[in-house]
Subunit: 156 residues, 2 copies
DNA sequence: TTATTTATTTATAATAAGTTTAAATCGTTA
DNA sequence: TAACGATTTAAACTTATTATAAATAAATAA
């Protein structure tokens, strides 16, 4: 984990930003909760455990900064809250999401399933794709216990 | 257009809701601006032209109702505002969007490009898909004038 | 080292989107 | 007509996020 923090630190420095203690605490929370999809408020509460004096606005600013640097992606699943999701290191595409309408769980799909679709869109619509957001809403494997496990995937 | 309103009226009645004048005015605004991606506030302002006495809360409630009935889809392009998009009649899938990061234009892709991807997800992740959201962010054809018009698409 | 500049943070106020509530209204139906 | 349920209005409220001004910290110049 230290090495990831180091790399983020370098990324900040390369744009002449600093990795202040507050920023570092925020990044650590994100790394320690990589599986989750935390809101700014969630992050704030977790950071407060390490650095009780931090302010909410600082968390917002840090998350904004990390979004700019493409360290995290800001997503919105339709409840009025932005969530911040660490970008998989090295991945050039933003992973996809499965949102369960029963239990609310959010799983991730790391594979890029959009390669072909993006080709079609770029050519057919003459649109230069820079980023994408793909979310499926439905019933997750935990909520419909029909055992249909023919395929397998790297989920949750 | 009248026939579409009639069908929406029937849909409301089938769930024992009424098409009140306020609701009708709201639906008409949506139909008349089918190309756009209006926020609740946008809708409110447009409805006010026809029915100046209407309240913002009513517009919100109507849009919520129409969302439940699957007449419109509520989407969020990442600015903190929900937008309401008429579902194409007869289409069982929600269309995709192209958001230009230069000019802010939002174009639609009516074709369903996700058929294969959904099959992979349902089988590989054991997830029953009910709905999807697919948005591409990039540069639209108006903003990068490279003439690369080999393909064609039904856009805006 | 001290003074000065610059970036950053804190605390708080402000804004913006959306929701809730209570009272008024409207359309039925008994 | 009286009463009921659904709906709307207006206003208050909640929640998420952003802006502002003063305080702090770090970096640099003298």
């Amino acid at each position: 984990m230290e090495s990831r923090i180091d790399r983020i630190k370098k990324q900040l420095h390369s744009q002449s930003y600093k990795l202040t203690p507050q920023r570092e605490a925020t990044v650590r929370v994100l790394l320690e909760n990589e599986e989750d999809h935390l809101s700014a408020e969630d992050v704030y509460l977790l950071v407060k455990e390490k650095a009780p004096e931090i302010g909410l606005a600082t968390v917002y600013r840090t998350l904004e900064l990390l979004t700019e640097l493409k360290v995290v992606d800001k997503i919105n699943f339709g409840d009025g809250v932005s969530r911040y999701d660490l970008r998989t290191e090295g991945a050039d595409h933003f992973h996809h999401h499965l949102v369960c309408i029963e239990c609310g769980a959010v799983d991730e799909i790391q594979e890029d399933l959009l390669g072909d679709v993006e080709k079609v869109v770029e050519e057919g619509w003459n649109f230069k794709i820079k980023d994408h957001r793909l979310t499926f809403h439905g019933i997750c494997h935990r909520c419909h216990p029909k055992d249909n496990n023919e395929g397998e995937g790297s989920e949750e």
